[in-house]
């Protein structure tokens, strides 16, 4: 079997980013399998949601017994960054066959977006663009499925003394550091974190959402003031 060369290019381009994805997937699987929803539903989130940070937050909130509406809203706020990716990719995807414009967004991730948008600056051929995105996105999808599945299977068997649950905030910490590049973003992070701590006792598990929205508002304000 031979792969389309553009597919292979996309697959190769996303590979270095997978070094961070595999441990994240393993950690998610281990923690999720150990949660109240159990191994089956824990893995189902990889197929149905396919977005690591949102999956992790969803499992954590389900485990805390938070109200459904709050969990859904929180997860969709975390995933709202995909609106930006979708808008940025839309002009390129307009040239793709109609059915692929509906199929490919399912595999749209931070990683596939990042490598594709960089490559699209040098490439004009829509066929190449489509296969490059498909290659990067499908490689990312397969890696996530396998690593979360492995984590779920190993999950319940690891000793509690290893404090593996501490790996969750560590993953988010690493993601946080990468996303803070400007001072307004730093303000958004500090306010978001501080308010989330203060709002932790809020009912229905609203603390995370209150913290996140406060951080976004503070970031916007800081951007206006510091400009």
């Amino acid at each position: 079997m031979r792969f389309n060369p553009a597919f292979v290019d996309g697959s190769k381009a996303v590979s270095p980013l997978l070094i961070g994805v595999v441990p994240f997937g393993l950690v998610f699987g281990v923690v999720a399998a150990d949660s109240v929803i159990g191994a089956g539903l824990a893995y189902a989130t990889s197929l149905v949601i396919f977005a690591g940070a949102a999956q992790l937050a969803t499992v954590q909130l389900l485990d805390e017994g938070v109200v459904g509406v709050v969990i859904i809203t929180t997860a969709l706020i975390i995933n709202s960054r995909h609106l930006m990716y979708s808008a940025t990719l839309a002009p390129h995807f307009q040239q793709f066959p109609r059915w692929t414009r509906f199929a490919l967004p399912y595999v749209l991730t931070d990683q596939a977006f990042a490598v594709s948008i960089v490559r699209y600056e040098d490439m004009t051929d829509p066929v190449y663009k489509r296969w490059f995105f498909t290659g990067s996105a499908v490689t990312m999808w397969s890696t996530w499925q396998l690593s979360t599945l492995a984590g779920v299977l190993v999950g319940a068997q690891l000793p509690e003394a290893w404090s593996l649950e501490f790996a969750i905030p560590l993953v988010f910490l690493a993601l946080l550091v990468v996303t803070v590049k400007t001072r307004p973003e730093l303000v958004a992070a500090i306010v978001g974190g501080a308010v989330a701590v203060l709002a932790a006792p809020a009912p229905y598990g609203l603390g995370l959402m209150i913290g996140a929205l406060s951080g976004v508002a503070a970031g916007v304000a800081a951007h206006r003031v510091l400009r």
Partner: protein, 105 residues
């Protein structure tokens, strides 16, 4: 609401967020009022996930390394994350730090 239903709704919602602008035929851009707030979603959400998980011990703020070694371990991991920008290095540093601190205190 059952866990399965919640997961299904999040899945459909996430797909629609990904489809959004790609699904619209005209190449419309993100409305101006939404561009700026969306930039701050990632840092704000990630910080809101990290801070309570690290700083709160049984619901109250505890920074003492003997009671809550996560704070000191997180600071070490933060330094590594900031210098390396690597998820793996951050996890390794943080986990090593928490094991060491638990052994010492």
């Amino acid at each position: 609401m059952s866990s399965a239903l919640i997961i299904l709704i999040i899945g459909i919602g996430t797909y629609l967020e990904r489809l959004s602008f790609i699904g619209i035929i005209s190449d419309r851009e993100v409305p101006e009022w939404a561009v700026l707030p969306l930039r701050f979603v990632a840092p704000a959400v990630f910080a809101a996930l990290v801070a309570p998980a690290v700083l709160l011990h049984d619901g109250s703020l505890v920074v003492s390394p003997s009671v809550n070694p996560r704070v000191l371990a997180t600071l070490i991991a933060l330094l590594v994350a900031w210098r390396t920008k690597s998820v793996v290095a951050t996890i390794v540093a943080g986990m090593a730090a928490i094991w060491l601190l638990r052994a010492v205190f």
